[in-house]
Subunit: 321 residues, 2 copies
Amino acid sequence: MKSLATYSAYLETALQQDHFPPTPANLYDPLRYFLKLGGKRMRPMLSLMACKLAGSSFEKALPAALAVEYFHNFSLIHDDIMDAAPLRRGQSTVHEKWNANIAILSGDVLLVKAYDQLANYDAATFQLLFKVFNQTAIEVCEGQQMDMDFETMTDVTEKQYLEMIRLKTSVLLGCALQMGGIVGGVSDADARRLYTFGEQLGLAFQIQDDLLDLFGESTQVGKQIGGDVLANKKTLLSISAKSAAAPNELKVLEAIENTKDHKTKVEQTQKLYTQLGARAYCEAKMEFHHHEALKSLEDMELPNSKDELRELANFLFTRAY
Amino acid sequence: MKSLATYSAYLETALQQDHFPPTPANLYDPLRYFLKLGGKRMRPMLSLMACKLAGSSFEKALPAALAVEYFHNFSLIHDDIMDAAPLRRGQSTVHEKWNANIAILSGDVLLVKAYDQLANYDAATFQLLFKVFNQTAIEVCEGQQMDMDFETMTDVTEKQYLEMIRLKTSVLLGCALQMGGIVGGVSDADARRLYTFGEQLGLAFQIQDDLLDLFGESTQVGKQIGGDVLANKKTLLSISAKSAAAPNELKVLEAIENTKDHKTKVEQTQKLYTQLGARAYCEAKMEFHHHEALKSLEDMELPNSKDELRELANFLFTRAY
């Protein structure tokens, strides 16, 4: 996938440039720092690819791509405060390196700067982009609130969980693609299909994340296996396991939850989730959304090659699983 | 001023309506609560008045007015976290009544909802409004950061202080007026004059606030006299007193700063600031900006009566001082 590297290098160059004034330093230095921490830049890349798919030059979508990346980083800076997370991409989070007040305020201004990027387009395009972007921004906040609410809820249904991950992570992928398509000039119907492609891909990706966290290879996943289980976090795996369990199996699940030894806890959970069919269920769900994403892509009426996005979708699901 | 009451009632009715979905309750309940705490609603009122001044019906400016009020409340919710303030308008702040995470996130979504209001206008008007609004939003964040930075700075100059209050509070008044004018259809030049009117009025108002805090009547100011002095807060009064003081007077100022007894501390400060001419200096500064505001209003080319805004400007300076 040579083209992915091209987009990625183009975005990195754009992001390494200084987009913020020098002062107040305590407001903008955290943003300079955070935006250079890296990451896959998947969202802005989707905007560029969608714009190119529409037959336009991908560079035209840069402001939309930056808006999405700024928004994503704004939400990470604030989420990190809420999660009291010390690290992000192996480096100190903003509230750790500076403090919570600075993290709140620099996050706020980054959100405003995201809007600023959208204003680079003409009035009509801007209004179209703004509608998708603003709706998405609201949904991401709602998803984050649901995620926080789930921490103290005993029974989270599969439907609630899927809606939470859809809002918290998938809609922004849809938004990134739809905005790229709008900039490139696709029809309304194709813009919606691009959105659906991203939304469904995001759902599949998040379910894959849950699966990888418990059944992945530690070296390839890049983090400790079983982190979600050790934190007793609700995931599609834990929810579907609980829902498939008979009363006596529920008791075993509960006992495992209270197991102190990490290795035992993870191994027992892997075994039971597999026995209960939760693993297979989640794999099927992941496949389903992956398939839905590709279907939406194929439905697009554009005559241009969809190879890039198709490859990306398939590439994402060759992760260490 | 019958008209002020009319605008105020109209705005209260609009704000008491429910503009937010029922769920997630932890995201939207805090906003319902906070927006109903009241306040003078000065900013949205300015939008309505500017729109009427332009010869349009003031109701047309409601979305712009709500955008400004939402933005103002978003910044209050986040500022309250940063200041660890337990009360706002005599009631619990959002982070006190719920928690800091909820206050961060509901503040975030309120900012997005402010943008949403602007999208109620046609594409061309929306783009004009957006430019003023976004520039202002960035400036308010910068002003808040400067204010936080000042807390740990030993020497803040008058110029820095004035720039901080201009950014933190005045530009939003300018924005409220300019947006109302844009909705009403004023010329670009008059839109800028409306902005200047608000900006200068805001500066005068903030300097008056500093003066009232030390020299006002407790019953009319509605809070304890000398709060800024007791907190050793930097204000135009303290900065100009320090700059006017001879070396021996500087020592006296320092000694007063370290005085433990509240009553003595406030009385001695009042006396010394008056002797040093700081009080008179601030009064003159306040008058200057008040005058600049009125001048900008008079310069407007619109044939319509400017009485309402003129009265409002004068009304604001009949506060217990």
